[in-house]
Structures are given as structure tokens and as C-alpha cells.
């Protein structure tokens, strides 16, 4: 529960920062950035949060389910603009995926593969 409390705390901190500083980035993402910074600065120790974080990230898909179910409420709007939405949704999602993946693979090839101990099995796509 310690870990869960810490994660909730950073989530709240992120929302607060978003409101107070009027940032164009959502509170959840600000919370992620602040929490990661706290891990790097050793303000939060990995073993305090590891188990709670593992449980939450492993089942992250579950937390999206109600949103997907919610799309049924928008069926009339989706149907009215059906073809334009289907084509541009599918097309642009594929474009983003291929460009992002392709560029990352190409630029990453230049990064020197110098595996550190215990990192040998990582496959960066070379």
C-alpha cells in the first residue's frame, strides 16, 4: 500500500501542477514526469513502489475498458461521418506507426551497441 499511496500522491501533484501553472500537458503525464524525476533523484526508492507499479502497469488495459464501451454512445455521430472517420483513422494510425518505428529503427542503428552486464539479452532492433 505504501507504493500505491506514493503513486496517488504524484498523480495528485501532477494535477495540481497542471492547474496552478496552466500547463498544456495533462496532469497524469506531469505526474509521471515528476515521479520519474523523484526516482532518479532517489527521493523515492524503487523497492517502495515496485510491486504496486507492476500490478497497475500489467493491468493497464483493464482501466481503458469503460472508455471503449463508451464509444457505443457515439455510434450515431460515428455513422454520420463513417467513411471519412474510418479512412483517416486507419490511415493516419498506420502512418504514425510506420514513420515512428521506421525512423527509430534507422536512427537507433547508429547508436553503439555496448551491452552492459545484465543487458545483453535486450534487442534494440539491430
Amino acid at each position: 500500500m505504501t507504493g500505491f499511496a506514493i503513486l496517488l500522491g504524484f498523480n495528485l501533484l501532477g494535477l495540481l501542477a497542471e492547474r496552478v501553472f496552466q500547463l498544456p500537458i495533462p496532469g497524469n503525464v506531469i505526474g509521471l514526469i515528476l515521479f520519474t524525476a523523484a526516482l532518479f533523484l532517489r527521493l523515492v526508492k524503487l523497492e517502495w513502489v515496485e510491486r504496486s507499479a507492476e500490478l497497475l502497469t500489467r493491468h493497464m488495459m483493464l482501466f481503458f475498458v469503460p472508455y471503449i464501451v463508451g464509444t457505443i454512445a457515439f455510434l450515431p455521430v460515428l455513422r454520420a461521418n463513417g467513411l471519412a472517420i474510418v479512412v483517416s483513422l486507419t490511415g493516419s494510425t498506420l502512418i504514425v506507426m510506420l514513420v515512428a518505428g521506421g525512423v527509430a529503427a534507422r536512427v537507433g542503428r547508429k547508436a553503439r551497441p555496448a551491452p552492459e552486464p545484465g543487458q545483453g539479452e535486450a534487442s534494440p532492433g539491430l
Partner: protein, 230 residues
């Protein structure tokens, strides 16, 4: 006995969602290619339609589930921290993949809507849809789109990328934890990240970083676009 009162209790939505999710994971355990989100959401939608249960009743419990997205997003900091050496080495590749991917996604979505004869309102709604819904909704609102529809499209984008992404990338010769993580995180935000983190912690952490970077990059890219939309 009035069943209506049962449906309105948040316990109904929570139980149905968690139950359907557990079944969906079991189904995936047997047939690997069937996406759990497809089974889970499909089963719930069928149940609501079959028993004529209003969506708002289900939502009472659904909102309790989506609440956990906040702490789950923050929790992505843990795989990110554990993979810090890897991420540092490939930071240039990740950042350039995310930036060019986001730019071409915004341009591509706008262009495709325009080609299909969609309105400017639909363009403004469609263009930010690859980033996580909290961001895309705000951007769509500021650009003069429809925020509620932006949320729906963002979810559908994530679902599509999460369902076909990993297999499609492999078929097109884009392999390796780093490029796959960048492609999925940039195109399909948390829904995609939630999918790949089950395969590999490394893919999940690259995807999480890419998702956060894509959110920041897209928010910044839209600042000059707002003038054009108004």
C-alpha cells in the same frame, strides 16, 4: 425485485468489467491472437444491449475503473527508471521517431479528412487523436473540434494500434523492442502501451516514454496550428 437498482449500483459496472477482463485474459491464454480488449469490451457492450441496460448505469462503475488510469500512468515511471541505461543510449532514436511520427500523423489525419470531404471541425477533432485522450480532448477543444468525439476517436485509435500494431510492424520488418515501443507509444498511447508491456517490460517502458514525449511534442506542434484553425 427491481433490477434497475442493481444496475445503478457502481458494483454492477465494476464486477462486469473485471469479470469480462478476467475471461478475456483466459481467452487470450488459449488463442493468442485474440486481443483481450476486443473480447472484454465486446462482451460488455453485448450484455448492455441484450438486457437493455442504460450506458449511464454501467458508467457509475466504469468511472471507478478508469480512475486507476491516473496512478497507472504515473506507475510507468518504474519500468522507465529500470530501463534507464537502455533508454539513455537510444534517446536520440526515440525522440526523432516520436517527433517525425507525430508530425506525419497530424498532417496525415488532416489530409485524409480533407480528401474525404470532411469538415474543418472534423479535421480539428481528428488531428490530435494519436496522443492519450486527456491531451487530445484538450487540443481538439482549443482547435475548435468536438472534444467528446475526440475522446472516442482517441480510444478507437489506441484500440486499432494495440490490436494490429505489433503483428503489422513485424510483418513490415520493423523489429526489436526499441522501434516497436516507439511505434506503439507514439501511435496508440496508453492502450498500446498496456498491450506491449505484457509482452516485454522493455517494450512497455519505451512505449511509455514515447507516449509521454508524443503528448508533449503534439501539444507544442498545435500551438502554431490554433491560429490557422480560427
Amino acid at each position: 425485485m427491481n433490477l434497475q437498482q442493481i444496475y445503478e449500483n457502481p458494483l454492477f459496472g465494476v464486477t462486469v468489467t473485471v469479470g469480462a477482463y478476467v475471461i478475456a485474459l483466459k481467452v487470450q491464454g488459449r488463442w493468442k491472437s485474440i486481443h483481450p480488449l476486443f473480447v472484454c469490451s465486446g462482451a460488455i457492450i453485448a450484455l448492455l444491449l441484450l438486457f437493455d441496460i442504460p450506458y449511464d448505469d454501467y458508467r457509475a462503475g466504469g468511472d471507478l475503473i478508469t480512475f486507476f488510469l491516473g496512478p497507472a500512468t504515473v506507475a510507468l515511471g518504474v519500468p522507465l527508471y529500470k530501463q534507464r541505461h537502455f533508454l539513455r543510449r537510444y534517446f536520440a532514436a526515440i525522440l526523432s521517431g516520436v517527433t517525425l511520427g507525430s508530425v506525419s500523423g497530424i498532417a496525415g489525419a488532416g489530409l485524409l479528412v480533407w480528401l474525404m470531404g470532411g469538415t474543418q471541425e472534423l479535421m480539428a477533432t481528428m488531428m490530435p487523436k494519436s496522443v492519450s485522450s486527456a491531451i487530445s480532448v484538450e487540443i481538439a477543444r482549443q482547435a475548435g473540434g468536438i472534444p467528446e468525439l475526440a475522446a472516442v476517436l482517441t480510444v478507437l485509435t489506441g484500440l486499432l494500434g494495440s490490436m494490429v500494431g505489433p503483428a503489422l510492424l513485424r510483418r513490415l520488418g520493423i523489429s526489436g523492442d526499441m522501434p516497436i515501443g516507439v511505434a506503439i507509444g507514439t501511435s496508440s498511447h496508453g492502450i498500446g502501451t498496456g498491450r506491449v508491456i505484457r509482452d516485454s517490460e522493455l517494450q512497455g517502458s519505451v512505449s511509455g516514454v514515447s507516449m509521454a514525449l508524443a503528448g508533449i511534442v503534439t501539444s507544442l506542434l498545435f500551438i502554431p496550428l490554433y491560429g490557422w484553425f480560427h
